[in-house]
């Protein structure tokens, strides 16, 4: 009897620890094999990279797209003989888009001597950088757009342009083409990227003579936005800028329409997810996005693997990230820079310009990249290009 009680207590305690540690930090891997001893990833017969993506939770929609890009690139690289003659594989960690869970994930990856990690989300990427720097891990972010990411670390590169650039273009378009929309209300997610959106929009909009009537924040993963939207509605804004992403953005839009908000809704590339584009409530939204004109050949490869040609730029951001790693790794070896994370970071800085699925990508010294930004409107369940900047 006594033994049972102790065992039960232990069992409960372990479960409780599970909850404390974020509980679903599961990992899985694809590729030929994973470097089964798990000790030094690059010394075996395969080269392993890490990816900390939201595989569950409110960000899972994006995580799925990131994963598609990574898997596509790995398949292609391995079919062509691998990196420096060795097959490439990836270890996925579920960061749930939470900085805390993701920091644990990068520690797991650091323990396996992974030199290169893919990351997403501003808060997550900022959160894992100290561990990355300590362990000399190069990080490429293809999803997080918070402006604090610029120059955040010599080990960080962003294949996605930061939010500031998109918001600048959005406001520029609005003031040039829609001067009748004079005031705005901002709904934003209360994280680094959402606050970036709010601050940049407020700054740019005011600079161009617009008036910000107010703003309301919500937690990431919230489902009820009716109170902040009711307050927004009462101020009767011409524009409603929604700096929220994923499922949150979809629900904000649904509930805004439900409450009868007539304002023109604007957003950035965060809007370009099927839940919003093919949603009756999403029609008429004006949004920016990163210009995405993938090569026919690349599109065909995507369609062959995933059975659809509805592809987002997030897929190519991570496809590019993996290809950049492969190129930088080979460059580092050829030029005797070494093969650790620092060597890869130096190689990326030296190469600077990379071919990508979506035109040339050039990295600035602060790790950011510049791409063409498009303004589009959602009509008939798709994003129709209005103007490019």
């Amino acid at each position: 009897m006594k033994f049972n009680k102790v065992r039960l207590l232990m069992f409960s305690f372990i479960l409780f620890l599970g909850i404390l540690s974020g509980c679903s930090s599961s990992s899985s891997s694809t590729g030929d094999n994973e470097g089964s001893d798990g000790s030094n990833s690059t010394n075996g017969d395969t080269i392993a990279i890490g990816a900390i993506f939201p595989l569950t939770g409110a960000g899972a929609t994006y995580g799925e797209m990131y994963k598609q890009g990574v898997d596509l690139a790995i398949e292609e690289i391995n079919a062509a003989g691998g990196v420096n003659g060795k097959p490439l594989s990836v270890i996925y960690e579920d960061g749930r888009a939470e900085p805390k869970t993701s920091v644990q994930a990068i520690q797991t990856l650091a323990a396996k001597d992974i030199p290169f990690v893919l990351s997403a989300y501003t808060g997550v990427t900022l959160g894992i950088l100290p561990t990355a720097e300590r362990n000399k891990i190069t990080v490429i972010n293809g999803g997080g757009q918070g402006d604090e990411l610029a120059g955040a670390s010599p080990f960080l590169f962003n294949t996605i342009p930061l939010l500031g650039l998109e918001v600048e273009v959005l406001v520029k378009y609005l003031t040039e083409e829609k001067p009748e929309l004079k005031n705005a209300y901002v709904i934003h997610v209360d994280d680094d990227s959402g606050r970036s959106g709010l601050n940049k929009f407020t700054e740019e909009f005011a600079k161009n003579g617009g008036e910000i009537l107010g703003s309301g924040s919500h937690k990431f993963g919230e489902t009820n936005f009716r109170a902040i939207l009711t307050k927004a509605k009462a101020s009767n804004p011409d524009l409603l800028y929604i700096a929220s992403h994923g499922q949150d953005a979809k629900l904000v839009i649904d509930q805004a329409k439900e409450l009868g908000i007539q304002s023109q809704i604007v957003n950035t590339s965060w809007t370009v997810i099927p839940e919003i584009v093919t949603n009756p409530n999403g029609q008429g939204i004006i949004h920016t996005s990163i210009a995405f004109n993938p090569a026919e050949e690349w599109l065909a490869k995507y369609k062959e693997k995933y059975g659809t040609d509805q592809v987002s730029s997030y897929v190519s951001n991570y496809y590019d990230a993996v290809k950049i790693f492969a190129q930088a790794y080979e460059y580092a070896i050829e030029n005797g820079l070494g093969e650790d994370g620092e060597a890869i970071a130096n190689a990326i800085k030296e190469i600077k310009e990379f071919e990508s699925a979506n035109g040339i990508i050039t990295f600035n010294d602060d790790g950011t990249s510049i791409r063409q930004i498009d303004v589009s409107e959602i009509v008939d369940n798709q994003s129709n290009l209005i103007k490019s900047y």
């Binding site: 899972a60 919500h218 009462a234």
Partner: protein, 290 residues
Amino acid sequence: MEILWQLFIQGVVLSMVYLLIASGFSVIYGTTGHFHISHAGVFTLAGYVLYLLMESMGLPIWISLILAIVISAILGALIYLTLYRAVLSRNGTHLVLFIASLGLLTVIDNGIVAIFSPDPQTFTTSVEFNKVLMILGAPVTVIQLGMIIIGIVALLLLYVFMNRTKAGRMIKAASVNPDLSQIVGISLKKIHVICYAIGSALVAIPGFYFALDTGANSGKGVELVILAVMAVIMGGIRSLVGAWIASLFIGMFYNMSILWIPPHWQTSIIFFLFLIMIMVRPTGLFGQRA
């Protein structure tokens, strides 16, 4: 004035969510003394049960709702009969039971993700229930109105059951003095099963509302249950009416205070008010002093 009225109506909706969760928790905790945090798990399961009945089996909404309430009540009773009784029969303390309950909640939330994927399961047949009605200029969806009406009926039934029926009086007796109740021949096990079933049926109603409103999703229950537990403590552990008043306060606070308080401060302020209240009146608004 219009905004006040609109926020008030949204406040009524949110209050009803807390009212039902808190009433369910109060019935269970007040009688058994078990800190049943898996109440949040039943909340989540109820939404998925409704999803399976309506979307996978194609049953009409009314039959699905009734069946899902019954299934949720059975699930709650089963949690007590299997897990909790196993803990208690091995002389586990209430703390062990709480940890076990927390463990079960994790298993439920993650199990659902494993089976259904982390994406919210939205109802396709419920589109007409998302229709917006106007109550004197305040928009309310059919689902919200439905939850309020069903909720009021359920709470009235609960009140009548607890105060006017023999079974209700037995529950009250067992909660005030379990030992004496056993001596006069009341089966505590039976009473506890009834309490778990009633409590779980009550928490299922807001579970349905959340599922129909924004899609069945796991992991959404804990925060609601913790606030509802706070309402139970604020109201006085064994006082249903106390829990109701406190739930109304919390639901209204969340909506009305948005006019003056930034949303990210609301929860901290609610907990701060709660701390002050239990320091001044540890037994809650309507609690009797021990």
